[in-house]
Symmetry: C4
Subunit: 185 residues, 4 copies
Amino acid sequence: MTDSPLARALLLVVDLQQPFLAAMPAADALVRRASLAIAAARRLGLPVAFTEQVPTKLGPTRPELIALAGEKPTVFAKDAFSALDSAELQEFLEVQNIEHVLLVGIETPICIYQTALDLLGSERQVTLLTDALGGRRPDDCAVALAYLAHLGGHALPTETVFYSVLRTTKHPFFRDYTKRVKQYA
Amino acid sequence: MTDSPLARALLLVVDLQQPFLAAMPAADALVRRASLAIAAARRLGLPVAFTEQVPTKLGPTRPELIALAGEKPTVFAKDAFSALDSAELQEFLEVQNIEHVLLVGIETPICIYQTALDLLGSERQVTLLTDALGGRRPDDCAVALAYLAHLGGHALPTETVFYSVLRTTKHPFFRDYTKRVKQYA
Amino acid sequence: MTDSPLARALLLVVDLQQPFLAAMPAADALVRRASLAIAAARRLGLPVAFTEQVPTKLGPTRPELIALAGEKPTVFAKDAFSALDSAELQEFLEVQNIEHVLLVGIETPICIYQTALDLLGSERQVTLLTDALGGRRPDDCAVALAYLAHLGGHALPTETVFYSVLRTTKHPFFRDYTKRVKQYA
Amino acid sequence: MTDSPLARALLLVVDLQQPFLAAMPAADALVRRASLAIAAARRLGLPVAFTEQVPTKLGPTRPELIALAGEKPTVFAKDAFSALDSAELQEFLEVQNIEHVLLVGIETPICIYQTALDLLGSERQVTLLTDALGGRRPDDCAVALAYLAHLGGHALPTETVFYSVLRTTKHPFFRDYTKRVKQYA
């Protein structure tokens, strides 16, 4: 990924656990869009990590998402709303020298919001993959997203970000990516 | 509340009186969201105050809201649109050393707008709790809110603000807060 | 109007002629909101002027609007899209020492847009009374309005602006204004 | 076009090929708005160029659009998403001394996005003709457009831009333009 706009980037999949998904509208679409982001990130060599909110109680990330992330998925348990509260994730970001985090998951006004603020505070870039973010209250999601964009977060669709990495139909991943775009539409 | 993002903050509940509520769409939802804000503020030690527009004529704040604010609720009568027109409220802000006001209530394009402008003019921070604000004309509310955000007001959902204070599921108020979130959904 | 936020301001009513109104959706609501703006401006001592696009061909401003503006309404004919193209209006702005123009009328993406740009270019303030502006294509109106706000125009509802001038229910015009607000809702 | 706001400007029509149009909602409206932009640009002396994505496979631009561009339409084939990937288009921009590109076509979050970024990176002005842009996923289009506007792109309706060039009903093209506006409404 050197010289790519996503060099030193991580895709962070936040709290896509069944109890949260069950409480929100359009959960199926959100899972499809998160699937697209994970599949594209993996194929383009971008590291992928997951957070899980109190997984001992709320259970793991939806299995079909974890399955897309390869054999040894990186998963961080947390009990705070910000993912940066996990000392293991903090260490991971530093060891991997991550300078840019792409966020997908739930909920935009709570865990995504606090995670994004902490990442911006740590001088990292934050991209909010708008179609792969959600929450119980869509209006609240829109308000929180606008606020994060105002603070310097990049609010962009998943396809926009990954087509920008591909740049051309000649990219070796282009055909496969196009298939994924249709599969997860 | 020291070290909290809401240290030196006040929740100001503006003009939630029945005649105004009766004239607007979605009044019930607004009262529920204001209830959430008041309940959360109280439990987290944040002072709460109310304004009432010409209460001798228009009556008091909706009783279920006042009831959430404890035994001696702080209420300021006013006949101007800006809450800062009340000398008692001005004094309260100074004596309590309030540097940040969270606004809920009605109407966004009139009393909320003028109050927010006066607060910004007094070098205080203003947070507009978007889901707990309203008015007769929803399009006008959205326009006024966008203008206030442009001037430096923080437009954020109620849940975003209070989950940011809690920060973690280990916070002593977390369980109770979650119950409130469901109760006032 | 000295010391008022609208000192040195003019309400400019742009091209509210029947052929344009007939081509747009929600024309009745637009005429009601323009009526509110004109009535409030007049009562508060704010000068009001009208522009008419090629009136020899397209006819005059809707009579009920002109009627609200007093006995000798100020009307400028034009054949350009920008109102500033009228040398008479230019002179009027200079002689009356107008530093701030409140715009209502049609169409936001054409005549309002070009007029606002010319006013901003002449170092005057521009307020766009959002509920009293319109056009054939509502999406185009929203895009043009956002662009003008980005350039420094104040996009605000009519009620927001005039309630800001009144400031209090004790203002001598308050009762009458409230009646107008209901009449033109 | 000297002294015009569109001196040194080009209208670039991106990838309006049938397979892409077939996949998106409201394709007919998009073709009509692109037709208006092409017809107006031609009549006002503004150069018009087309890009086609892998035309050997996906076919040419919709014929009715090409037909509006005169006898020898300028068409650039590309296989990258950004139009600037075409060395021929790059050369065209330099030889014609183009400093401002008006973009219409599809898809806003992919080819339009990457083209706009590259144009802004080359110190050229970019205007996004909002009503003549589109894509499969309207929400993604809105997000990408907001991001480009934030980076300095001018997001404006087609009519706004061309009425700004005409400036007055006395312009020799005014009558004809008005006809086009109705034809492509």
